[in-house]
Amino acid sequence: MDSCMAQTWDRIIGRIISSGRMYDAILKAIMGETPRDVVARQTVAAPDDTIIRIEHLTKTFCGRRTVTAVNDVTFDVKRGEIFGLLGPNGAGKSTLIRILTTLMKPTSGTAFLDNYEVTRDDERVRSIIGVCPQNSTLDIELTAYDNLAFYGKLVNVEESLLDTRIWELLAMTELTDRAHSKVATLSGGMRRKLEIVRAFIHHPLILFLDEPTIGLDPEARHEVWQQISMLNTEHTTIILTTHYMDEAEKLCERIAFIDQGRLISLDTPENLKRVMPAGELFELGYDTFNDGVLPVIRSHELVISVEQKEGKIQIAAQNGSNLLPTLITDFSRFGMTATSVSIRVPSLEDVFLYLTGKKFGHNDADVIDPKKRFS
């Protein structure tokens, strides 16, 4: 409740300060730079390869129930990388993106984008970013071309370059022949691609993609991925949120795991997988179950964790192939028969499970299991 009070106070003080902003604007017009700018520049000397710096960022929503959507998150994003924010629905990814794209003010903490502070220099921040939000904001009653032209004007693409740029982007998305079709007639995948390049029309330094492939079919997802990789080669830093593990694994150079508003882990996909002490994962099916088997399996030296779930025993173990005969023996000792065996190398999903002890998208029915779709 305290933070809520603080938030209300912030809002009131914000109102008062905004009159100070006007004063700043006048100063800026006269002197070109306000004292606040000078201070901002001096305090934000970040290393050159860092483009986004997030410091103890927290966002609390006050209402009937106080929700901390982002909880003391701190990390850096390097210039030119594809950075993934990964977590289940409601983890706080979108809130974090909304703060970074100046749509929302943090409750506490701060973030710098290319040395501009998100709340103080919000206008300058907006001029260096491109945003493709989770829900489409294309105007479906306008044509593909008109959507790009409209947005191009909003983000100050020079009038003389605009037309060329639009055709370039349409060619990139293979939508040249649909340029003058209304967006309403385009497929979901086409719209998504169009929206992504729209965010890129002004060559932003940083491109935010919030769930870029949600609801797309496998083929369309692949096309979107190709496009994202292509945009990245133009030296743009890309921040991508997703709850598809395979997407993050495929595209991102570094990944931040977020759950319940907290940063759980941040590293390259390879290193993240190394976090898991287990080399392999077992799933053993059985017909009858005997409680006594679990402690016995746990007692083996190589076994890291054992879990019984939905008619299967899940075991994380190092050097699993050597362990398999032992496990079969254990089963028969307790009068159990293994009906099925599967062994696999851990995926990012397993890493996430290991780190959080929970399953993705538990409270969301429309989550698609990427493994099922790409089997």
Binding site: R126, P133, T137, D139, L154, V155
Partner: protein, 363 residues
């Protein structure tokens, strides 16, 4: 089969009951029809301001003048209603003519002087209104013949014959502005917000003030065009006459001020409602209410006094009055000045309100 029907019924009803606001608005609509529509339209017209005067050379008041005026003052169209006329005595015909052309009175009656008692009684009539001129004419005739006077009555319709189509057509110009903005503009704004298009603006370097300016600007031009097209229809089809370039530009000025005021008002209303349904129910109410009490269909004189206050605060009434004054009566700034002031106050207030409430949705 029935199970599905019941399921749909339950769902619809649940939604209906779960939104008390729409529930109230649904009921408010017919009640407004009953009270306002019933009273504002087709009410008995009474208290028409007219002037009386005795012809020059003025020596003393003739018995004809005295009894005639008395008869006019006490003339009742219907026995249980107030008198039909509110009579002002003038001493100079020029002043009376001025009052008529300024719209302060709707007619004046000139009685013959002592030296030529057999001359006609002259009735000068503002013929631009609906129903009122006919009522005046029949009322004056009845009042005069009622006292046994044989002088014939010479009627001068100072604005010629004006069809109802022309009278109503001018009201429709304003209606077009209101409807286009309220239904077209406001709903489009809410849909844009629902579709996230407005939020899409916020991640671009576009300034908040530019968003407001663009939104109100486009709405104003749209509303203006709607009004202008109906104005052209009035000219070419209904046959209204624009007498001079000044009149033409005065009409455009009134259209513009009405458009910017209504657009800003709608922007502010649309900012307050998150759902299209709520907005529509409120706006349908507003639109009909303002239109019916504006005098577009029927003279405001016919409204009961408890409803008259609405005319004072209804911007649509000022806009219609201004347009009728210019188009039907060829009156100038001296008559429509008060309407323009009212429209300026309305537009300014609406712009402020629009900016404030829209800005709040932007933050």
């Amino acid at each position: 089969m029935l199970r599905g029907a019941i399921a749909i019924f339950q769902r619809d009803f649940k939604k209906f009951l779960s939104n008390p606001f729409i529930l109230i608005m649904t009921l408010a609509m017919p009640i407004m029809y009953l009270l306002v529509f019933g009273n504002a339209i087709g009410g008995t017209i009474t208290g028409i301001p007219i002037g009386v005067i005795q012809e020059q050379p003025y020596i003393t008041e003739t018995p004809l003048y005295l009894t005639g005026v008395d008869s006019l003052i006490n003339f009742h169209n219907q026995p249980d209603k107030p008198a039909l006329f509110v009579v002002t005595r003038f001493t100079d015909e020029k002043i009376a003519a001025g009052a008529l052309s300024d719209g302060r009175i709707a007619a004046y009656v000139v009685f013959p002087s002592k030296i030529a008692p057999d001359r006609n009684i002259r009735l000068y009539l503002d013929s631009s209104d609906y129903m009122v001129p006919a009522l005046i004419q029949s009322g004056v005739t009845a009042a005069v013949t009622g006292i046994g006077v044989t002088n014939s009555i010479l009627v001068n319709a100072i604005y010629g014959t004006i069809d109802y189509l022309q009278y109503f057509g001018v009201g429709v110009i304003v209606m077009a502005i209101f409807s286009t903005t309220m239904f077209g503009g406001g709903l489009a704004l809410i849909r844009d917000r629902e579709m996230g298009i407005i939020e899409g603006y916020f991640v671009t370097p576009v300034k908040r003030s530019s968003i407001i300016l663009g939104t109100i600007g486009s709405g104003t031009v749209r509303a203006f065009l709607a009004g202008f097209i109906i104005f052209l229809v009035d000219i070419f089809i209904a046959g209204v006459i624009v007498r001079s370039a000044t009149d033409f530009f005065l009409v455009l000025l009134v259209l513009f001020m009405t458009s910017i005021g209504v657009t800003s008002l709608v922007v502010s209303l649309a900012s307050r409602f998150s759902s299209q349904q709520e907005y529509s129910s409120v706006i349908a109410f507003f639109n009909l209410f303002l239109f019916m009490t504006s005098g577009a269909f029927y003279p405001t004189l016919g409204m009961p006094s408890w409803l008259r206050w609405i005319i004072v605060i209804n911007p649509e009434a000022y806009a219609i009055h201004a347009l009728r004054s210019i188009i039907l009566r060829g009156q100038g700034i001296n008559v429509i000045g008060i309407d323009l002031i009212a429209l300026v106050i309305f537009s300014f207030g609406a712009i402020m309100l629009g900016i404030m409430s829209y800005r709040r949705t932007l933050e």
